[in-house]
Amino acid sequence: MTQARTSEAALSVRHLSKNFAAVRALRDADLAVNRGELHALAGGNGSGKSTMVKILAGVEHGEPGGEIEVNGEVMAAEHMTASHSRRLGLHFVHQDPGLFLHLSVADNLALGQHYETDVTGRIRRSAMHRRARDVLERFEIDARPEQLVGELSAGRRSMIAIARALQDTKPEAGRHDVLVLDEATAALPEREAEQLLAQMRRFARSGQTVIYVTHRLDEIVGVADHVTVLRDGQTIASRSGDGLTESDLIALITGRPVADVFPQMPEPSVNEMLLSVRDLRGGRLQGVNLDLAEGEVLGVAGLLGSGRTSLLRALFGDLSITSGTIRYRGKNVLIGSPTVAAKHGIAYVAEDRNGDSAFPDLSIRENLLVGSVPRYFKRMHMSAKQERTDADKLITLFGIKADDATLPLSSLSGGNQQKVVLARWLKDRPDLLLLDEPTQGVDVGARADIYAMIRDAVAQGASVLLVAADHEELARVSDRVIVMRRGRVVAEINRPDITADRLTELTLVGEEQKR
């Protein structure tokens, strides 16, 4: 190990750039972290914060010219590897802590380091447990060595992962390690996230350097000692956490001042209601209320894990609900399975086309007609002629670029595959369209086609519940947008007020504005 400088800097990143083909993910970005500091790394989607973490971890290489200095040792950003990162004393804990849930706490800790064995190679359980007890004590974790990790709460599991990463570090030995939490709180319930950060703060007080990446503003304000904000791959601000407000942060993250973040609650709709959901719970949903009028396009915004996908799946009968009511076309309905949902005229286009919608090796024709097979069973056989005619009609009607409907679906481009999936549902004129990222991984031209298909369906009277991470897209298409956060609808905005920036603000602070 090179000689440590006397400076207080634990980690400093200078002139870090990273290009992915034409995309400049990081442009000359800096990060300076002092010893014993709880340092928040903030930024919106695509701001470059996850790229920076990946370069620190040695998973990606920076462009030449960038420098990473840890405890006085300087590495060129283009040469950083995972083993360098470890040697320099950087430790990472990710959103998925990567623990073995069916093994004990002691086993998990030992697997992160080594098992103590006797001469015959047998594991010395008592020594292993003793060491685990020391680690648990040192990191103030309320768990026993023999407990299964799967029995612990999510927050404690994250703590075990942190302890596993740091168990070998010896702060008193002069070497100074840095802990990086990469969205480690994103999957945690609110209270546990708070507890985890409180503990990180205590660690920082006792000299441990902690960097954490988050997009929840409430996890930064009043928590972090120091904040670095990235936007468009550049370091926009690096300032002390003292006196920082949420408005300041939003302005830094979105790049524009916050005039009024607080939207007006909407007037109750006077249109004919197609769907009314009350206190829906199940999966990630913590009591969702929403109304959807006939012919309305209702956008659903929210961060990953906010419950937006769970909402669609629950309405389609693909996720069992524990309580709440769904009123549909004027009647309370129980949607116990996708089959029931389809019978009610509800269509669902899932986010993951390959996993949830495509039959890649079946023909385009079969993919189009898979939901209405019995219709073609006439006079004791499948009417191939009728199928051919109808499929060809659909291909023309929905502008699917396919030369031959008997070719497998996998022969089409992503955009045309997605059109096939949509056409599969739209041909039956559904009343309610549940769309989860319908234009994901689709090029610009196909994106426009897909929105034209959706618009036509709406013109024919369909209502749409649209989930999209692209706020520009939501703002353009929706009549109204609800914002979800931690399984609840926390905000709602109507037509003239919907802008992408506003949606970004609301997904970030959605809950606080109510209080």
Partner: protein, 349 residues
């Protein structure tokens, strides 16, 4: 610029899929496609012609007696292959049809031998045994999501034990209806009587899988079970049905074992399993390459049969059958995987 921040997924994490046509290489030309589909049929004919004219086998191979004997001996294998094929069309393994056919043969024989039941009752009980065991497998696998391989292996093993126990390792031969045994071994119009039953059964199965909604459902489930569920198909019901129908066919095969062999015993049924599976896998390389299919299975059964028959006539002894089946399984596993991948699907087996 601020909207840039707000919108869009991580630009580097999720690159936009290029909207280009897939290169030609993924989709074989028509000629190549035909070669795939009918390659095994051509090979079948070539092998047939070869043994007909090869000096060592020409005297005996293309004779009425040899052809009838070969066809007659394959009827039970064909039914068991069909029984194993059905769940495979929905991407579920079934290792039990051999043992189920064995159990059904014992029930059928024992009804006549030990309970002096009339032949028609023996036949019904034999077939019913197959249906019940198939339903048991199907419900455990489709409804309770048990692993198909392990469930059917367990079924197969347990049944073998029960059969050994019931028969004491011997055979049940008393009081077997002579009508049944002559149906199993004699000809009508120079054609094995069994063929008059098995041929229509295979036609119905072919029709069911190629020309009815059920066939489409099975294909969809095989292609992407989760997507099939999300378009509202009754995935569990269809999957269970493949096991129940497979059980029915295995039960029928059990009754035909009694008819052809003249007894019920614990070893005959299970011995058919691997030749049957080899034929199914081989069949999945032809007609509808990459998918187990009825016509392919029929061709698979007879391709193995004619090859083994020819090689035996040329002087190979009984080991040739196992060796040949093994080689066929290797070839089938490789080819069917290759074909399935070409069509963008996953490996089936």
């Amino acid at each position: 610029m601020s909207s840039q921040v707000a919108s869009g997924p991580d630009p580097h994490a999720a690159p936009i899929e290029p909207d280009l046509a897939v290169p030609d290489a993924v989709h074989p030309s028509r000629l190549f496609d035909l070669g795939e589909r009918y390659g095994l049929v051509v090979l079948f004919i070539l092998v047939f012609v070869f043994f007909t004219f090869w000096g060592k086998t020409s005297a005996l191979f293309f004779t009425h007696a040899n052809i009838i004997a070969t066809v007659g001996s394959q009827m039970i294998v064909l039914l068991i292959a069909a029984a194993a094929m059905l769940p495979l069309t929905a991407r579920q393994f079934d290792l039990s049809p051999g043992a189920v056919a064995g159990a059904s043969s014992i029930v059928c024989a024992a009804t006549m031998a030990n309970f002096h039941g009339p032949p028609f009752l023996a036949i019904i009980l034999g077939v019913a045994t197959g249906v019940l065991l198939g339903a048991f497998n199907g419900i455990l696998i489709a409804r309770y999501k048990l692993s198909a391989v392990i469930t059917t292996l367990a079924m197969s093993t347990a049944l073998t034990g029960v059969m050994e126990w019931y028969t004491g390792g011997g055979t049940i031969t008393n009081n077997i209806s002579s009508g049944l045994t002559s149906f199993g071994s004699l000809n009508w119009l120079g054609i094995p009587r069994l063929l008059y039953l098995v041929f229509p059964v295979m036609v119905v199965l072919w029709f069911l899988l190629e020309w009815t909604p059920f066939g489409r459902y099975v294909q969809a489930i095989s292609s992407n079970e989760r997507a099939a569920r999300l378009v509202g198909l009754h995935v569990d019901r269809v999957t269970a049905s493949t096991f129940i129908l497979g059980g029915f066919l295995a039960g029928l095969a059990g009754v035909l074992i009694v008819a052809r062999v003249g007894d019920g015993d614990a070893t005959t049924g299970p011995s058919y399993l691997f030749p049957a599976l080899a034929a199914v896998f081989l069949g999945a390389t032809t007609i509808r390459p990459g998918r187990p299919n009825t016509l392919g299975t029929v061709i698979g059964v007879f391709f193995v049969a004619e090859s083994v028959s020819g090689l035996s006539l040329a002087g190979a002894s009984s080991w040739i059958s196992d060796l040949f089946n093994g080689i066929v399984l290797f070839a089938a596993a490789g080819l069917s995987t290759y074909f399935a991948r070409q069509r963008g699907g996953a490996r089936i087996f």
